[in-house]
């Protein structure tokens, strides 16, 4: 693809929060040309009507939602984003790939490499097991080379992004043990999608804090897959998501066991230095990872509306544990922004194009 030319792109399923954010990011993207968006619910209406917030883009006034059709879209777009429920996404990915499109899938359909693990966590047979081998897990900071050439990118889930990015470098460098990992996460309500369930009404969420999906949330499947790859052996973790009355954001607190004890202050200082170096090596040049210094701790307020992920850590000499905390916008770095980051890499654009 030629970076000088805008790339024609389409979004299938643009009516949810992730789809809406893709619309926003692609309308404002300097190298993308949004030629098609689909939504059964909004078919026939313009983008400007459905999302008045973006109506100042000329394209938003010109472009209407259409019924989803893989064949028709494949004739218009080179890259297609799927913002569909799991199970449904695969149905579109198969023909689109056959028609020669490159596909960036925001669903869970191609994240897990094992069809049987998929079935265990998603409770139905994998709809396209043949594609699992070619799909690339779209975590830019980890799979850059593979993403560049991928025809099918499976963008990570929002929780996995907030857990994997802080953990993978520590695991790969063996600074932490691969056992006993606990991830305690807090998510804004947009993470539940634009979904008609009583649980997500304002009056049910406001002034409420609650865990859910305890103890076996679906995202465990991809989290453990990627941690296992980094650790070189099977990793099983504890993961507890909570629903919090904010619209956007995920805050994750990780409880980790350093590989070596740090009995005294000297040892703690040494370990702190090693962790700092590990993150510097992994993320020093990353445009969207912010490793906090000094007394600062992650705060979702500082990342919502952006593609950034913040990381900070503390050693606890009393317990011997390493506490790592991260913050991200669940819909951007956790979903659509990350998809754009993959898109930029796939097309040879600057990785930050349309994101800063």
């Amino acid at each position: 693809m030629n970076p000088a030319q805008p790339i024609k792109v389409a979004i299938i399923g643009a009516s949810g929060y992730a789809g809406e954010d893709l619309v926003r990011l692609l309308l404002g993207h300097p190298h993308a040309d949004l030629v098609s968006v689909t939504s059964r619910q909004y078919a026939g209406q313009t983008l400007a009507r459905v999302f008045p917030r973006y109506s100042h883009y000329p394209r938003a006034k010109a472009l209407g939602f259409s019924e989803p059709s893989a064949e028709s879209i494949s004739k218009q777009a080179e890259v297609v984003f799927l913002a569909l429920p799991h199970g449904v996404a695969a149905e579109y990915a198969i023909p689109l790939l056959q028609f020669g499109c490159r596909v960036i899938d925001l669903s869970a359909d191609f994240r897990v490499k094992s069809a049987s693990v998929y079935k265990e966590f998603y409770a139905h047979d994998h709809p396209a097991p043949d594609l699992l081998e070619t799909s690339v897990y779209g975590l830019p900071e980890v799979n850059r080379a593979a993403i560049k050439n991928a025809s099918l990118v499976a963008c990570p889930g929002c929780y996995p992004t907030s857990i994997l990015l802080p953990t993978l470098p520590l695991l790969r460098s063996q600074l932490i043990k691969s056992t006993g990992i606990i991830a305690d996460s807090l998510s804004g309500v947009s993470g539940a999608g634009r979904k008609l369930e009583l649980d997500y009404l304002f009056a049910e969420c406001n002034e409420s804090m609650r865990p859910y999906g305890v103890p076996k949330h679906r995202h465990l499947s991809e989290i453990e897959q990627e941690l296992s790859l980094a650790a070189g052996g099977p990793v099983v973790i504890q993961f507890t998501p909570h629903l919090i009355p904010v619209t956007r954001g995920i805050l994750t607190t990780l409880y980790l066991a350093p590989s070596e004890h740090f009995a005294d202050e000297t040892a703690a200082e040494k370990l702190n230095k090693q962790i700092a170096e590990c993150y510097e090596a992994a993320y020093g040049n990353e445009p969207f990872i912010r490793v906090l210094e000094g007394k600062a701790l992650p705060d979702t307020k500082n990342v919502i509306g952006t593609n950034f992920l913040e990381i900070a850590w503390r050693l606890d000499p009393r317990t011997g544990r390493l506490i790592v905390m991260s913050a991200e916008d669940n819909i951007i770095k956790g979903t659509s922004g990350q998809a754009i980051q993959c898109f930029n890499m796939m097309c040879g654009f600057p990785e930050t194009a349309g994101l800063i």
Copy 2:
């Protein structure tokens, strides 16, 4: 004391959120007669003016805030509530006890039995070490007998209440190990008090989720003291508090290790039954503890505005851990409501008087 007679009570330091809630609970209490409230800031104003919400109580219109004076208060009240900062509370407790009042202290001054641990966590010498022996840790469900006869009750902190109540029975019955305990807690902003700091402005807290006080929060001192008592040996735990944009509520997620493995479903069922029996034995008759059944998980929405604490648990066969979750109103069960519960016990009133 004679239950038929209302008891004359006073509040020293009634201008913060805990003090205001004590005002509310005592104005509505069937057996309490609020005869004095103090606040430097509001001295000279009536309760009704400062807290219009309670102005329908005749006493709120009649009673004005005065400057705090232990001697003067001791002449009016039999029981005195202290809603003062740590360090300051002890200054009033000493003379009040000498004058013969019974004291219910909401500060941290008398919770920790060791003056040196107090100094480690609160960074100043204990202001009244002689009183530490006689003070009673005011967790009603645990110290009922001692509270009844106490002259000085130290009400537990809000986080400790949410952590101790779900953990103590399991620890006492040795269903869990005393090592490796992790408490991950979420608190509403009222927990920071009515305090003028930028961090607690609406625009700084709204749409924000953030950890703080990592890894050594002051409440660890009393939590570990009480856990150690239950375990019969020193317990060190991990505790991470987070600030969440709700006014009230604490949600705690506990990561615990069962004493015995539950390798198969039969073992898990057995353990689940043991835990259920353990909680039934501990709390089956408790008026304010709600152990949830079926699929229900704690939600602060279901306890705010009340003195109830909700508990639920899940075994995770994948990790071998026991996850216990609790929810409470940080200002009521976590502070003022618990103080009233202690007051009821001290005076021989029904424990729920003024609380349901």
Copy 3:
């Protein structure tokens, strides 16, 4: 009815926010015996299961939701609360009244005395026009005598309560003109009911402020009816409701024209005194109306969770207008609490029973 005996009561349609609050208030009511609650959605489940918050009431554990049946309920309960959609409520009111029950209806079905006005605003024929004459508009502060003996009470809407209570005394005493009245109201999201519409999802309401129903909201029909009665002639007003991201509360700002100019400070002082006297005469002995003094202005925070309504006013010498502001809990004083107030009057109980 004999005040010494608890009255047997039932709620038809107890699954929405108003119904849930009736459950709460009736479970805690000293003179009511809740014998039946119905809900198609929850039929077969206990109150304690559906509303864990109230599970400490023994009755909540014993009583299950049943399918609604007027005949069966009429055999159990003397007084029946209807918390049903308009149109549906009348279907139950007719047989219940025939079977001899007294009915307290929270819907709009019996508020408007004219079947044609009802049709104009509710877009369907009135389902029981014969009952319109006997129904009593259940605004306790205004219709006390009629409510006491009513067999059918139509509880006012939440907006009307917040508008009528501050306006009626001024209109009756002719301190204000009956023309040009503007009511600008802000409501929390619970006002929309426990309803599955995208508009009321947390992520759609949070950080959103928006007008709706402009310029002809249904509540205008009952507001203008009651204002006209007080003015002794037809009154037409402007009313604009707004949706605000709080769970509970209505704040109303009223723009009114004093009958006489207050050109100078003396005239303004005189008018202020007349208004104060007018409110004192109307509400000085009312248990749930709080007319604010000094610099205080209404704040929903001070009334939510209660049956109180706050009122304050300001004269504007620059424009010659009188600004009156009110605050209430939309679900309590605006709906269920007011219904309980009516119930108390109908049964000869103290008006504050179960409400303070």
Copy 4:
């Protein structure tokens, strides 16, 4: 000034919400070079440290806050933004203008042309009355020509922007009367500034709705000045601001009287068409004004984070009134974004530079 060259700019008083937003907008501005920011409170710290959210801008890491000094800043910057309290702003404007800088003032100091009106509303003598004649009221859609050549621009207040933009075209075209105008506004809490007052604590604002500043808010002075200019004679309006628990946004509901009655549907249709044409003539080519069509009504959710202002209107045949509603981000279109819009015009840049 040469558009090809970035313009060197400074911000005096960059620690509040308006100042922070200026920092954000100027760091990302394609034609601005932020060379100096001042803050007594943060002097010595880098922008990246104080505002971690913007730390990815190289300039944010390089640039530190300094103590404010007009002379020193005048040597570095061509255009200086003042984000200071009223009264203080003028103290810096005087020397900066003398040193040859162009000044964009976000305070109220130069908005009102009359020093005596200023004193009436701000309660102190005007600190620089000589400058009042040369200052330009920085409402881009209204004063474009004057802003271009101004040396001193006084950016409008947040409420005035939300009131003037919907009202001025109607007044100028005499579609509405200049009497009886009512503006009822709702503001997010950031409008109160990053200020340490109890009233703006999270726990005081959350679940609260309240009017304030009734009936004579300071912003009336500039609103009435600009309305009077448009009407060609003195205009006095009613204005009621309310504090709402959102971080950002202003929603204004305007009650206006059309100049001619619209007794029947034909007249109403005609008037609707005239209003539509009036707004089209005024704002059809404006990049930041969005006049809504169809059933859409303004919602702050659709404008926060942007420089857009939304307008919609409804005629009410029952009352003869015209209801106009607007929504904006109080900190962007209401403050800092508008300042950037002025900056762009003053420097000959595209008006949307750095804003879309």
